[in-house]
Structure formats: C-alpha cells, structure tokens
Symmetry: C2
Amino acid sequence: MSNPLTMKLEQFTRFSIAERARLDALAAHPTQTFATGQVILSEGQKAGSIHLVLSGFALRSKTLQDGSRQILAFLIPGDLCDIEVFVLQGMDHDIVAMERTICTLIPIGEMERLLSEYSTLTRALWWSTMTDSAVLRSRIIGQGRRDARERMAHIFYEVLIRYRMIGQGAGDGYSFPLTQQDLADATGMTPIHANRTLQQLRSEGLVEFAIGRLRVLDADGLKQAARFESNYLHLDRTERDADVSGRAGDLA
Amino acid sequence: MSNPLTMKLEQFTRFSIAERARLDALAAHPTQTFATGQVILSEGQKAGSIHLVLSGFALRSKTLQDGSRQILAFLIPGDLCDIEVFVLQGMDHDIVAMERTICTLIPIGEMERLLSEYSTLTRALWWSTMTDSAVLRSRIIGQGRRDARERMAHIFYEVLIRYRMIGQGAGDGYSFPLTQQDLADATGMTPIHANRTLQQLRSEGLVEFAIGRLRVLDADGLKQAARFESNYLHLDRTERDADVSGRAGDLA
DNA sequence: CGTCGGATTGAAGATACTCAACATGAGTGG
DNA sequence: CCACTCATGTTGAGTATCTTCAATCCGACG
C-alpha cells in the first residue's frame, strides 16, 4: 500500500514504478509509536534518523521563557518532522504528538542514498519543503493581517485541504486533537478569546469542534471567513480546493 | 572578490578552493539593476533564471484583496529571491526593491549543473533554505506572542544580525530603506501604531531610525527588548550574536 | 463523591485601531 | 522665488478587539 508521503508527493510529480516502490518501502522501516502528549523531538535535539509521520497528529511548538507558547505547524501523515537534520545542528523547536502517532525512522544514510539515487525524489522533497515554507508565510500573513475569526477559520481550512491532499477528511470531518488552549497557542490568542471565536464560527454554522475532531459544515463559508487564497499551496496536479466537498478517492 | 552568497554560506561550510571559485563566479553573470520601488518578481511570475541579490535591499510582500499588505521577509545581499522556481509553478508573493538593487541572474540550467557537480554546495544551499524557514517560524512566534514593541525590536535586531553575517552593519548602522508604513506592514500594525512604537524605542535609547537607515545604539538592550532567542539562525561557524558590536572583518 | 482538566461566562482593563487633523520636507510648475 | 502638491511623519480622541483575572460549569475518572 502507498504510504502517505508518496501520496502527498504525487500531488506534485508522477513517479516511475521503481521510484514509487522505493518511496513506499520507506514505511517498512522500524516504526516508533508516540502516545498523546509525548514529545517526539525536543528543542536542541539532533536525532540520527528522520521521522516520517505515518499516522496520527503532531505539531511543532515553541515555548518562550515566559511560558507563552506558539504552535508553528501541524504534522499529519506524510509529513517529515526533521529533514533539517541533514544540515542544521539541532531542532529549534519541539515536536509533540497530539494523539497516538506512529513515525517511521529513516536512517540519514538511507535517505541520502535515496536522494542521490533518484533525482526525481530530491525534487519532490524539495517541493515539499518549499510548500512548507509557503504555509509558514501564509501563517505570517494571517497573524499579521487577519483578525481572530479569520485566523481560526484559516487554520481549520488549511488543515482540511492538507488532509484531502493525503486522501482523508472527506467524511465527517477530520482528526484535530487540540484543546482550545492549543488552538489559542496556534492562532496567537488567549484561550478565552479562542473560545469566543470558536463559538462565533459555530454559531455561523461553519464548523463543529468536538474534542479531538473537527467537522466542517460549510467549507465555502469557512474559506470565505478565512479569506483563504488557494495559490500558496502550489498544488500542481490536483483540483486545488475548488471542490473541497468532493471525492477523496481520485486524488490517488 | 567574494560575493555575498559565498560569504553567507561560509557561515555554515568551509568550501574547497574549487567550490569557492565556482560560487564566486556566479556574480560574474549578467546583472539586472532595479530602482527603488521597482518590482523584481511579481506574484504568479515564473522567471527563467534565479535572482541573487548582490547589493541593495528588497523585500517579499503579499497584498491581500482588501489592500492590506504583509511584508514577509527582507532580502539583503547574498539572498536568493526565487530558488523556488526549481519546483514550484510560480511566485506566491511579490519581491520589491526598496533601494537601488542589483541582482545576478543565474540561469536555471547553470544552477542545476552547479548543484549536481558539487554536493557541498547543494548542502550549503539547503542549509540556507532551512535557515530561511527558521526565520519564518521565528516571525510567526513574533506575530503571535510578542507585542508591538517586541516585534519591532525583533525585526531590527534580526536584520542587524543578518547584515553582520555578510560582513556589514558594523559601522554606523545599516541600510534599512523602509517607511513607517512599510515597518507597519512588516510588523502587522497600523502605521500610526508603528510610529508610536518607534518613538518608544527611540526614547529608550535603543535605536535611531532615520529614513533609509537604522542605527542601533544599544544592541544588548534591543536584543532584550525583542526577547530575541539566538539559536534559530543556526550559525555554525560564527561567534553567533554574543558580540554584535564586534568586528565584521573576521567573519570572512 | 471529589477532583481535575477543559470549556464557558462576566466584567474590567490594556493594547492597538479608526478617523481626522496637522506638520514637514522634497519636488514641481507657475 | 513662491505656491502647490504629495508622500511621509506626527499627534489627539474615541472605539474595538483582545487580554486579564475571576468564577462557574461540566464530564471523565479515580
């Protein structure tokens, strides 16, 4: 079966049989399972292997000296936690599992071999890191120029799209195991204000946010509320997000 | 003479004579000069060559439909505007020159050859994009968890450090050709509030901000005011920022 | 049944925004 | 040389958004 990384990268490239097999084989490596709340990688750490999320949900977070925390990104299946190890000396933030999360550990050497062997893969991975950067930029725009409601809607919508990229989130919502406190740390507000903002989105009939799960009731409305601009995700081969209510099946 | 890209990358790697020569030779390519305010690359555009800033000052900016603008990053000599062209279909934001700015245009093919030829360079460039991401993340932290004064101080300090990485900014401040409107767009405030925040930093004796030029009067104070955390820049070979008042000369 | 983490509500206060006026300086045309 | 415009910077006053500090509620779990 196709691993979620393959699925994600296929948004961008069409792989040969050999490349695809090689990529899928990554999931065969030994895995490590992390419990809810467990730290996958902590600031300063430099692991000997690269962590690929196979299933579950994790996030990048940074805690400042005064205790305030900022959530930087969400990691869903198919995301690499730390390709940075290739070149940087250590993590500059933490990665924490928000539900039972399984990672494949890819030895650095193995990854290096893979990259030198298949230049298509190198490009695909590069694409992946570039779109990650684009997501970071879009979040800066959000924090700088969007109000609380728009920011929260934007996060919900972005995660929805990303789930759909790996062929999930079509049914009744998707796994989004955050507390309102976490949500506040992601959007840069206080938990109180996050609560009220959430209530607003609920009352507008856009989303339902039960603990651990988000259900998008009105995707178009949510997109509008977020003032979402689609182009930054650089989806080459997909329908983009014109039809989010649509079929997950034909992404593969 | 060494081009600013070489200088920057040497923060991370030590190059062989051949590699260094090859890298320096990039500056020999045809250049293009942009006037103040001129758009170097605009959203949606996909140029046939990669733009490397040789001298001047530019920024990445994104204008939303409602006219509000967010400045995403500053580009100083040694920065690449659009390595993304390798893998993405086009720019998702604009790049604008803020003073007379000279770019080398490196044909994509040439860059590809360079990368396949010298794996050290590939790594070094990878390091560069990774640190760029780290800067983006730090800005998210800023927008989310720092107040106006801290945000502005942070931007000033970050640019100071980055200038020092390329061996500049030691004397009486550095080129920072922004209006208060631009500063507001970078920090996510209104120009009025940017003005007042700036006045505060001035009255505290931390900086002087004449038009087009920033002078840091009290680097340590500024760092403190920004609640700056040094590690995210991943400076391997330099003194980091322990001694910002110090000597630019021995960076090379 | 009590405790505990999360969610929710209220009210007061701070930070940052809006709107509007005014100052300053560079550049332009009469 | 002066009047004019225009972009930038500055200041004031009123307002909105978001925060702080409480208190309360609720369901899960021992």
